[in-house]
């Protein structure tokens, strides 16, 4: 954890409201990118990410007690997700869920799940692990995932791989499950 962030955290956990408010700016500057990237994982929409993050920072300002013992970046992200982000992530779709068929629990599992070992890895670690695991896949499987990550539609991927759209969907599903297995074998549970 860099010194700027450590100082900002010290200011944030001060009892004085105004001091906490002043400490918000360096704290936001130091953490904005990490937090918004993390939220993007769940929401996939930058506007919603900013709206949620705004509430998260306001909550941190209001009750920063959970951050008192934070001593590294990973611990900070974990604490912020568990005690500040998750609540708001759940709220994003809760109001709309009145007209949905998915149960509240099913929705929560989809939108704000429990933390797995992969979910706590930093973006850099994940990128490295993913590249390594992609190399272990069959060429066709790897190509399907790479094309999807380039933003291509199923039809375009099907044209590229000379397959049907349904075959591409099936291939992606199987490959994703294979990736999950590979990554969990690589990072066994602590």
């Amino acid at each position: 954890m860099n010194r700027r962030l450590r100082n900002a955290l010290k200011g944030l956990t001060a009892p004085d409201i105004e001091r906490r408010r002043r400490a918000m700016e360096p704290f936001v500057r130091a953490t904005f990118e990490i937090f918004i990237r993390y939220l993007y994982r769940y929401l996939g929409n930058e506007v919603e990410c900013e709206d949620v993050l705004e509430d998260v920072y306001a909550d941190i300002w209001e009750s920063p007690d959970r951050l008192c013992d934070v001593n590294n970046d990973k611990h900070l992200l974990r604490t912020v997700y568990l005690y500040y982000m998750r609540k708001h992530l759940r709220e994003v779709y809760r109001r709309r869920n009145r007209h949905l068929h998915l149960s509240q629990k099913g929705l929560e599992r989809l939108i704000a799940p429990e933390l797995g070992i992969l979910e706590m890895m930093s973006e850099e670690e994940l990128g490295q692990a993913l590249r390594r695991m992609l190399n272990k896949l069959k060429p066709r499987e790897r190509r399907a995932i790479e094309l999807w990550m380039e933003g291509m539609s199923n039809r375009a991927i099907a044209n590229e791989l000379k397959a049907t759209v349904d075959a591409v969907k099936m291939l992606k599903f199987r490959t994703i499950l294979k990736l999950k297995k590979l990554m969990h074998n690589y990072y066994p549970k602590e």
């Binding site: 409201i17 408010r21 918000m24 700016e25 936001v28 904005f32 990118e33 918004i36 990237r37 993390y38 993007y40 994982r41 929401l43 996939g44 929409n45 930058e46 919603e48 990410c49 900013e50 993050l53 705004e54 509430d55 920072y57 306001a58 300002w61 209001e62 779709y93 709309r96 869920n97 007209h99 949905l100 068929h101 998915l102 149960s103 629990k105 099913g106 599992r109 989809l110 939108i111 799940p113 797995g116 992969l118 979910e119 973006e123 994940l126 990128g127 993913l130 995932i145 999807w148 990550m149 933003g151 199923n154 969907k169 099936m170 992606k172 599903f173 994703i176 499950l177 990736l179 999950k180």
Partner: protein, 112 residues
């Protein structure tokens, strides 16, 4: 337009695509009762969504990082200011004590 009665593979594909395109609400609305049940009971679907989220994060999270953090900071400050103005809502117990309705029994038990 989504198909009806989709298989679990198609559902995952539609979820991953919705996540990539930032339209999760549309995907959620598109779920039929049977599809919702299928999702809730499928362990494979839950496992696969974890990887779909990771792919989304590694591949597309750059889109979320705005260059203007200062503007965002001013939004956060405005939010804090509004919370400072708003008096803390009194606790349920406090409010309840004030407006507690008098029950029939209490009315009867009043000293004569």
């Amino acid at each position: 337009m989504y198909d009806i009665n989709r298989t679990i593979e198609t559902l995952l594909d539609d979820y991953a695509e919705a996540l990539r395109d930032g339209c999760i609400p549309t995907f959620l609305k598109s779920l039929t009762r049977e599809e919702a049940k299928r999702i809730a009971s499928s362990r494979q679907f839950q496992d696969a969504t974890e990887i779909a989220r990771i792919l989304n994060s590694v591949g597309f999270a750059d889109k979320a990082v705005t260059s203007n953090v200062s503007l965002f900071i001013s939004r956060v400050d405005a939010k804090i200011a509004s919370r400072l103005k708003k008096p803390k809502a009194s606790s349920r117990r406090g409010r309840g004590a004030r407006t507690k309705p008098v029950t029939k029994m209490e009315k009867i038990e009043k000293p004569i």
